[in-house]
C-alpha cells in the first residue's frame, strides 16, 4: 500500500493531536488506518500456532499502547508510521516472550523504546528526504534483498537464522542487507 507524503503528515498530525486531546474519534481514525497494517505485520511473524489469534492480540496490545502513550509522541522526532511500528515491534516481542513463559521484570520497552527515546529532533526536510529514499529504495529492491529484509524485520528472524533457513553463508545475508541499506542512503556501520 502506498501513501503520499501528505497522507503521512496527516497521520502524524492526527497522532500528535491524540496525544494532546485524547479524542476517541482521532483514535478510531488511527485504528481504522493502522490496525490492518499491524495485523499484517502480526501475520508475517514466524509461524506460531494460532497465528491469527496472535495477530489480533498484537493489534489490540499495540493500539492500547498507542492510546496510553500518544502524549509521549513527538512529531519533530518521528513520523506516526515509524512510531507505531516501534510500538508494534515491542508489543510483539513482549507477546512472544509471554507466550514462551519467560518470567522477567524486564520488558521490551526497557530495552528498545528507552534506548531510542532521546533522539535529537531531525530537520523536517531531512526527515522527509530520508523517508522518501527508504520508501523508494524498498519498492525497487531486487528480490533476494527484499526477501532477506522481510525475514529480518517482518518474520522477526536474526541474520544467523535467515542464513540457516535459506542455506546461505552468513556473509551473503549480511551483504544483501547492507546493499539494501546502502540504497536507502542510511548511515550503515561497518
Amino acid at each position: 500500500m502506498t501513501q503520499t507524503a501528505s497522507d503521512r503528515e496527516m497521520w502524524t498530525e492526527l497522532l500528535a493531536g491524540l496525544g494532546k486531546r485524547h479524542d476517541r474519534q482521532d483514535f478510531i481514525a488511527l485504528f481504522n488506518h493502522f490496525a490492518p497494517q499491524i495485523k499484517a505485520y502480526g501475520l508475517s511473524t514466524q509461524a506460531t500456532p494460532g497465528l491469527h489469534a496472535f495477530a489480533e492480540e498484537l493489534v489490540q496490545e499495540t493500539m492500547i499502547r498507542v492510546w496510553r502513550r500518544a502524549s509521549t509522541f513527538d512529531a519533530s522526532k518521528a513520523s506516526a508510521t515509524t512510531w507505531i511500528f516501534t510500538i508494534a515491534r515491542n508489543a510483539r516481542i513482549d507477546l512472544l516472550r509471554r507466550g514462551a513463559k519467560h518470567k522477567s521484570d524486564v520488558d521490551a520497552d526497557d530495552v528498545w523504546l528507552e534506548a531510542e527515546a532521546d533522539q535529537q529532533p531531525v530537520e523536517e526536510l531531512e526527515a522527509d528526504r530520508n523517508r522518501r529514499l527508504v520508501r523508494e529504495a524498498i519498492s525497487q529492491l531486487p528480490i533476494e534483498q527484499s526477501q532477506v529484509l522481510a525475514k529480518v524485520y517482518l518474520e522477526g528472524k536474526p541474520h544467523s537464522e535467515v542464513a540457516r533457513e535459506l542455506n546461505l553463508p552468513l556473509g551473503t545475508v549480511k551483504s544483501r542487507v547492507r546493499l539494501a541499506l546502502n540504497k536507502m542512503k542510511l548511515l550503515v556501520p561497518q
Binding site: F27, R69, T81, H159, L186
Partner: protein, 218 residues
C-alpha cells in the same frame, strides 16, 4: 567517548526486534552512551516501518475496535512513567529493573581471586546473561566461543588483542574468535555479557576456571 560499536548485522537485528533479548540488552546499554548508533538505530526502525507500511493490509475482526474502546475507557491516557525519580548511579536505564540497588549490591559469585560473575534472569532462553567483574589487572583465561558472545563495558575497562574497551564500548565475538581480556590496572572492570553457548577455554587453567561451566541458559 565510545569507540567500539555494534556492526550493521547486530544493529539491524536490534532495530527489527529480531535480536535475542540478552544481546539486545547489551545494545541498549551501548546506545545510551552512543548518540551516533542511536541515530542509526532510529533510521533502521524507519526501514521496518516502511516494510510494515507496504504489506497488504488485512482486515481485523469485527468487534475488535469495540473491545479496545471498552478497554481504554478505564485506562489513563497519561504517559506511563516508570523511570525512578533518581536513576541509580552508574546503572544504565536498560538495567535499572535488574539492578535496583546498583552495581555495588550485586550478589557476586567468586570464580577466581580476580574474577566474579552474577547471572541475571532476563528470561532469554537462548542466551545466558551475566555480569562479569574482573579485578584490576585480572584476566579471563583465553577462550573461544561456542556461539556468540556479546559484551558491553559498564565500568572500568579491559584490553584484548582487539583493542582497549571502556564504558559503553561494545564487542560481539563469533565462534571462531578467541581472546583473553585483561582488566585495566586502575579499577575493577564490570561488563554485561550475553552468551548463546558455553565458552570453550583453550588453556589448561581455563578448564578449572570456566566461570560458566555449571551454568546453563535459563
Amino acid at each position: 567517548m565510545v569507540h567500539h560499536h555494534p556492526d550493521s548485522e547486530v544493529l539491524t537485528d536490534y532495530a527489527a526486534g529480531s535480536l535475542a533479548f540478552g544481546q539486545s540488552l547489551c545494545v541498549a546499554v551501548h546506545l545510551e552512551g552512543c548518540p551516533e548508533c542511536r541515530r542509526r538505530s532510529s533510521q533502521l526502525s524507519q526501514v521496518g516501518a516502511e516494510l510494515m507500511n507496504q504489506l497488504v493490509p488485512v482486515a481485523v475482526e469485527d468487534g475488535l475496535l469495540d473491545r479496545i474502546l471498552g478497554e481504554i475507557d478505564g485506562v489513563s491516557a497519561l504517559p506511563v512513567v516508570d523511570i525512578p525519580a533518581s536513576p541509580i548511579e552508574g546503572v544504565p536505564r536498560a538495567l535499572r529493573k535488574l539492578l535496583p540497588d546498583g552495581l555495588d549490591a550485586v550478589p557476586w559469585k567468586r570464580v577466581t581471586s580476580r574474577l566474579q560473575t552474577a547471572v541475571l534472569g532476563v528470561g532469554d532462553a537462548a542466551n545466558q546473561v551475566a555480569l562479569v567483574r574482573i579485578k584490576p589487572g585480572g584476566s579471563i583465561p583465553e577462550h573461544r566461543h561456542g556461539g556468540t558472545e556479546t559484551t558491553v563495558v559498564l565500568r572500568g575497562g579491559f584490553s584484548d588483542r582487539g583493542g582497549n574497551y571502556l564504558a559503553g564500548d561494545f564487542v560481539s565475538l563469533g565462534e571462531d574468535d578467541s581472546h583473553q581480556p585483561i582488566a585495566h590496572q586502575n579499577s575493577d572492570c564490570i561488563c554485561l555479557t550475553a552468551q548463546n553457548a558455553p565458552l570453550q577455554f583453550t588453556g589448561f587453567w581455563g578448564k578449572i576456571a570456566n566461570p560458566f561451566i555449571s551454568i546453563h541458559p535459563q
